[in-house]
Structures are given as structure tokens and as C-alpha cells.
């Protein structure tokens, strides 16, 4: 059987969901028999250059680079799975949504009590921040959602193994958590 091609992506989040994926422990040996990793922060492959079966994405959308990469994931992945609170709700980074962006930046870089000679970073290399942090579904269609902060290794394993076997993932009560 040909291996399924899996890509993983990381937007605005803490990488905890990728860490949780590694928490599947020895099952990772089973996984490498079934999948081939394509673009992923794990192998540092930067660009898509072939169709991908399953894209797994972590993190919310807070800047223009996130928007571009998320759209590339949707365009190149047959099935797109959003994992974790940030990808599904904006998560912890979305706490800034109740404060206007300029106020956030000024507090962090100009008026904050520990700032000396501050300025809001404006290097052209830096992606422009969006006014609000968005869940991934605000921009592209998401096929499956695995909540959690992070989702447990068992929840991720269930989702992955189900999709690889061509069935619908079913999360148990212990596996469906938002925290």
C-alpha cells in the first residue's frame, strides 16, 4: 500500500499540538509505516511541491503570513484537519481581540512599564499583524476539528488513524476536551 502523504503546519500558537503528536510515543513507529511526512516544521520542508493527502494545522491566524500559508495548505491538502484551541477558536492569542491592535502594540513596545526608548517594530521582514486573531475556519474550509489545548495524544492518534483507515474519527468523552 502506498504511504499517505501528511503535511503539518503551525500558525499562531505554542507548538504544543505538535508536541502532543510526539506524545503518541511508540505508536510513532506504526505511523512512519503508514505515512510519509511532507512540508512540516518537524522536517523543516518549506514549500508544497506535490499533492498532500492529509494536512494537520495548529494555531490561529494572526498575521499575513499565517493567511498565506493557511491558504497554501487548503490548496494542496485533500483533507485539512485543524487541531487545538488556537486553530479552532483563536485560543490564548485571541485574548488580544478585546483590545484594539494599536493599543496592544503600544502597551508592549512603547508605553509598557519596562520599555526604554521603545518603538513598534516595523522591519519589512515582519509579517503585518491582523486586527484580530482568527480561527482557521474564518479563512478556509476545515474538514475535521480536534479540540484541546493541546488535544491529547490519544485524540490525535484516533483522528489520524481513522483518516488513514478511511473512517470518520470518533472522539471519546475523555478525548473531546477544550482545555
Amino acid at each position: 500500500m502506498a504511504k499517505s502523504i501528511v503535511a503539518t503546519g503551525h500558525f499562531t500558537g505554542c507548538f504544543g499540538c505538535h508536541m502532543s503528536l510526539l506524545d503518541i510515543d511508540e505508536r510513532i513507529l506504526e505511523l512512519v509505516e503508514l505515512v510519509e511526512f511532507d512540508k512540516s516544521p518537524i522536517n523543516d520542508k518549506k514549500e508544497f511541491d506535490r499533492p498532500v493527502d492529509i494536512g494537520i494545522i495548529e494555531g490561529g491566524v494572526s498575521n499575513e503570513e499565517n493567511v498565506e500559508v493557511l491558504r497554501a495548505f487548503r490548496a494542496n491538502c485533500r483533507i485539512l484537519v485543524a487541531i487545538g484551541a488556537c486553530a479552532l477558536t483563536g485560543g490564548v492569542p485571541a485574548m488580544r481581540n478585546t483590545v484594539p491592535l494599536r493599543e496592544c502594540l503600544e502597551e508592549a513596545f512603547v508605553t509598557g512599564p519596562t520599555v526604554v526608548d521603545g518603538m513598534i517594530p516595523n522591519d519589512p521582514e515582519l509579517p503585518i499583524l491582523l486586527e484580530r486573531v482568527h480561527p482557521c475556519r474564518d479563512l478556509v474550509k476545515i474538514d475535521y476539528e480536534i479540540p484541546g489545548c493541546p488535544p491529547s495524544a490519544d485524540a490525535l492518534w484516533e483522528a489520524l488513524s481513522a483518516l488513514l483507515e478511511g473512517r470518520e474519527p470518533v472522539l471519546s468523552y475523555e478525548q473531546l476536551k477544550y482545555d
Binding site: T89, T98, R132, P147, L176, Y178
Partner: protein, 235 residues
């Protein structure tokens, strides 16, 4: 409710149960061991039908089970895909209307909104988040209000008036801006509220909460971390 004497029978999802006239549907279902999801209802308080999560179909029409009196021969649908989808949508709207971010919430695992969402299988809210600015009030030495979690169930309003006899809470503003008010003084610190008040213990999302209790029970060991809310599903 009065006149609890006449025995009546009704069916919920085809299961025949008995009740007494004067009972509400949710009371009859609870007594029969059938779970109807709910948020604003509390067994110690009169029902108000605010949240509509307990919506059931009675003889073909929708109604709130917490306010609907039982009647002989009623045919009730409860645990159906259609109703559970409606309820899940109500829960999702409740999530996006406030600031319900479970990962950073100190009451995660001990929150009825989250627990009902778990039980109904919500993966995430699918409506645009409003991220409203909500008032918090830490002026009282023992009790605080974090309205980011408030779902306007009105339990505190009812409990404070009817059980504590203090009428500390009411509502202010209208429409989407509606909020629980501390009446007259506007500040919790200037009221007679106590940590032992019923109004504090009935809050489903603990936006009304006793201070210095934050993580006494660690995450993962709380009420709804392992066991679903409400009566267990029938085999």
C-alpha cells in the same frame, strides 16, 4: 407548581414515564432518569426558560422543557439529532457571545456551559466570535464577578431574591449589551453578599465565584473532566 396529585403518563422518545400534574417536563424527565440538556434551569429555583437549551418537541411543536407543564398523553421528542443540533447551535452562540476561552479559564472542567458542550459533542463554536468587553468586579473581599463568562442565565438573580432574600442582582442595558447588574450600588463590595450565598453557588459558569479557590482542585480532576454532566445515557 400546585396540585401535585393527579398521576399522568407521557412518553419521551417512545419511553413511557409517569408524572404528576403540576410538574414541569424537565422535573418529570429528571424523576424518570432521562436527561434533557439545560443551562439556565436549576432544580432549586423557579424556571424561566431563558437559554432554550432544554427545547424539546411536544406533540409536534417546540417548547422549553423547564417551563412546560406535563399533561396526560404528551408525546415528547428529546434526544434526537435534530434537537441536539439546535441545542449545539445555541451553545455555540453562547460561547461566541461572551469570552469563553477554556484553555486560559480557571474554572475549566467545572463549568456547566463547557460540560453541556462536551455532552452534545461540540468541537468548537462555528460562529464569528464577538469578543465583547465585559466588566469585572473584584471589590468584595470574598466574592468576585467575571462577566466574561456570564451567559445571562439569571440563576444569581433568582437565587439572590428568592433564597438569599437580598435581591442583589438584576439586569442592565438592553439587547446584545445586556448584563447582570449589581443593583443600586453597582459594586459587589458595597452589598451584603456572602461567599455562602446561594446566588454564588448556583452560577453555571462560575463568573460569580468565591475568591482564593482558583486551583484548589487541579485541572483534570474536576467535576466534568471524566464524567459527563447530567443523568448518564441509557444503555
Amino acid at each position: 407548581m400546585s396540585d401535585r396529585n393527579e398521576r399522568i403518563t407521557l412518553t419521551i422518545d417512545g419511553v413511557e414515564i409517569s408524572g404528576e400534574s403540576g410538574m414541569t417536563l424537565i422535573e418529570a424527565a429528571d424523576a424518570a432518569g432521562i436527561y434533557i440538556p439545560r443551562l439556565c434551569h436549576h432544580p432549586d429555583l423557579p424556571p424561566t426558560g431563558h437559554c432554550r437549551v432544554c427545547t424539546v418537541t411536544v406533540n409536534g411543536g417546540n417548547g422549553a422543557a423547564c417551563t412546560r407543564p406535563v399533561a396526560d398523553g404528551m408525546v415528547v421528542e428529546n434526544d434526537t439529532e435534530r434537537l441536539n443540533t439546535l441545542r449545539r447551535n445555541l451553545i455555540e452562540m453562547t460561547f461566541v457571545e461572551g469570552n469563553h476561552y477554556c484553555p486560559e479559564c480557571e474554572v475549566s472542567g467545572d463549568c456547566e456551559l463547557q460540560a453541556v458542550a462536551y455532552r452534545l459533542g461540540m468541537t468548537a463554536p462555528h460562529y464569528p466570535a464577538l469578543n465583547p468587553e465585559r466588566e469585572i468586579d473584584g471589590s468584595h473581599p470574598d466574592v468576585f464577578i467575571d462577566r466574561n463568562r456570564c451567559i445571562l442565565c439569571g440563576r444569581c438573580v433568582r437565587a439572590s431574591a428568592l433564597i438569599d432574600g437580598k435581591s442583589i442582582f438584576g439586569y442592565k442595558y438592553r439587547g446584545i449589551h445586556k448584563a447582570v447588574a449589581v443593583v443600586v450600588t453597582d459594586r459587589l463590595g458595597e452589598t451584603e453578599i456572602e461567599a455562602t450565598d446561594k446566588a454564588v453557588s448556583v452560577c453555571p459558569t462560575q463568573c460569580l465565584r468565591v475568591k482564593r479557590r482558583g486551583f484548589r482542585t487541579p485541572l483534570g480532576s474536576r467535576r466534568f473532566d471524566r464524567e459527563p454532566i447530567g443523568i448518564p445515557e441509557r444503555e
